[in-house]
């Protein structure tokens, strides 16, 4: 009897939710379609793309071969992979050290310093671009991974995220480790890092995505074609007079592949990463 009642009730609820389902379905289709189309266009000839074909074609290999023949695909892909990995590793290490220090050793001086560092969030990239370019060129770091990564390995956002999440790190562990004779730095490496694994994962995902997708700074600092990144490569592809749309979308697909994989495999960490400092 009660079972029936609940069932009837839930089907009434579902009925009331029909407009919601319809709305969400429409929004979902709008969200997914351009990406679906990117994938299908990568399998079609340029003419078919222009004719409005939206289903899969048979020219995947041909577009891929064209892309390899006409661009520095592997070099750029390797560059992007190297730059993004180095930036990610350095960034999560340096920012986690700082977040740990700011939270677990906090005093008035450090809180003040943190507030000052936060102000860097408001500095637009376009304003530091010229002085940083001059700096990198003086240091002979143009077209190098260091020129790419150094301006972004310490960000207020990441420090804030680690600082916020360090609240979950029990200070008792520190005390116990100190009694065991562990030095302050070993406590960080042996206790903090393993405990904070999920924060590291979230921070790594978000930093990698940002690094891979960055466009303005690489355009400034990578003056040599051989040092260019994937976003630069596909932007150049679209710059010509006659555009091979099949090949272009193949390039776009290639540029999106690593971030899409990260997105699908580590979606939870990605979500945590962008909302990480709001808690």
């Amino acid at each position: 009897m009660t079972d029936k009642k609940i069932k009837a009730n839930s089907s009434a609820i579902q009925k009331r939710l029909i407009p919601t389902y319809i709305f969400l379905t429409i929004v979902s289709i709008f969200s997914v379609f351009p990406l679906f189309w990117m994938v299908t266009a990568a399998t079609n000839l340029s003419v078919d793309v222009s004719r409005g074909k939206i289903w899969f074609g048979t020219h995947l290999v041909e577009n891929f071969n064209n892309l390899v023949a006409n661009t520095n695909l592997w070099k750029s892909f390797g560059n992007s992979l190297l730059y993004s990995t180095v930036q990610t590793l350095l960034c999560i290490f340096i920012c986690s050290l700082a977040g740990y220090g700011f939270e677990l050793y906090h005093d008035k001086g450090k809180d003040l310093l943190f507030a000052i560092l936060l102000m860097a969030m408001m500095i637009p990239g376009v304003a530091t671009m010229i002085p940083l370019f001059t700096m990198m060129s003086r240091l002979h770091l143009l077209n190098t991974v260091w020129g790419f990564a150094l301006p972004a390995i310490s960000t207020p956002f990441m420090i804030m995220m680690f600082r916020q999440n360090s609240r979950n790190f029990p200070p008792d562990i520190m005390e116990a480790a100190r009694i065991d004779g562990l030095s302050e730095f070993w406590i960080f490496f042996r206790m903090y890092m393993p405990v904070m694994k999920s924060t590291y994962a979230a921070a790594a995902v978000i930093t990698f995505m940002n690094a891979w997708n960055s466009y303005m700074w690489p355009r400034v600092v990578m003056t040599d074609n051989r040092a260019q990144t994937m976003p630069m490569l596909i932007a150049n592809l679209a710059g010509g007079y006659t555009i091979d749309y099949g090949m272009l979308m193949m390039g776009v697909l290639f540029c999106s592949l690593p971030t899409m994989i990260v997105f699908f495999v580590l979606q939870r960490q990605f979500t945590e990463g962008i909302t990480g400092s709001v808690k």
Binding site: F133, S154, T259
Partner: protein, 299 residues
């Protein structure tokens, strides 16, 4: 003696605390604050990048900036995107989050993944996708023609207003899911009992949303607002790759124009570009301050 040893330990701990944050702080000072000061100094200079001299008069670049019709146009364009796109996007995001936060809803994960998916592609990628879809011989025109809505292909990116519209649509597409994630996280922090209480008090869905959800989400809303304003004021990738600022620079953004003046083709005018970039910095700071002020509920 024992006490002395303990003091030594404490001092050691204190020193360690500072050591932990010294690299990060130094990097931010060297890579953000110092360049900002450099930009300010450079903004008072003129000449080519290799041969910068103090401007005569000192505020020459700033005066030029306010007389530069093109720059003012880029400011106008950027604000147009800001005023139209940010509210639509945030309202849509909050609506989607509210709908997805329903415990009776099925396929929640699937819907969320779909709406969030655009965040997985780079800004350059999606700009190029939209550019191709909205090309004169592109998919949108074909669909609209087949539906009988238009009879002649629209040159979307070749006309000022439609080009701006495409940029706004593209921005909404790319960033709505991103903001929705923040609201969803915020909504999940609200206890279910709060809603129950509102229900008992006789509040309907809309009232609950307006008088319960929105006030509780206020900090998140303000944060997304600041982030969106900040991001829109620095718009670059879309302007470059979707319309290349055209037609006739009517869709160009501030960052794009500054880039063109410093690293684009032609003369690199670091002094002038720095002055304009300082203007952007001040805009960002003012708008963030206003937002924080408006959002501050502590009297």
């Amino acid at each position: 003696m024992d006490k002395k040893k303990k003091m030594g330990l404490l001092a050691k701990q204190k020193a360690a605390g500072w050591l932990f944050l010294v690299i990060a702080s130094a990097m931010i000072i060297v890579m953000s604050f110092y360049p900002m000061v450099q930009a300010l100094i450079t903004s008072f200079k003129t000449g080519s990048s290799a041969n910068l001299k103090w401007a005569e008069p000192l505020f020459y670049n700033y005066r030029r900036m306010f007389q530069d019709k093109m720059f003012m146009k880029s400011v106008g364009n950027t604000f147009l995107y800001l005023i139209i796109q940010v509210p639509i996007m945030l309202i849509l995001a909050i609506l989607l989050a509210q709908l997805l936060n329903n415990k009776d809803l099925k396929f929640k994960g699937l819907f969320r993944t779909c709406v969030f998916l655009p965040c997985a592609v780079s800004l350059v990628s999606y700009a190029l996708i939209f550019r191709t879809i909205f090309a004169t011989q592109g998919l949108i025109n074909i669909i609209l023609t087949n539906l009988g809505i238009i009879h002649e292909n629209i040159n979307w990116l070749g006309q000022t207003n439609t080009a701006r519209l495409v940029i706004i649509i593209a921005l909404i597409w790319r960033w709505t899911g991103y903001n929705m994630v923040f609201y969803l996280a915020g909504l999940q922090n609200i206890e279910y009992s709060v809603y129950e209480a509102a229900k008992i008090d006789g509040a309907n869905g809309w009232k609950t949303f307006w008088y319960v959800t929105v006030p509780l989400l206020r900090p998140v809303i303000i944060m997304t607002f600041i982030m969106s304003i900040n991001g829109t004021l620095q718009l670059f990738d879309e302007s470059v790759n979707l319309t290349n600022g055209g037609p006739a620079n009517t869709t160009i953004t501030m960052s794009h124009y500054i880039y063109n003046n410093s690293f684009g083709q032609g003369v690199a005018n670091f002094g002038y570009a720095s002055a304009m970039s300082f203007f952007v910095f001040i805009l960002v700071a003012i708008l963030a301050a206003i937002n924080l002020k408006v959002g501050d509920t502590r009297d």
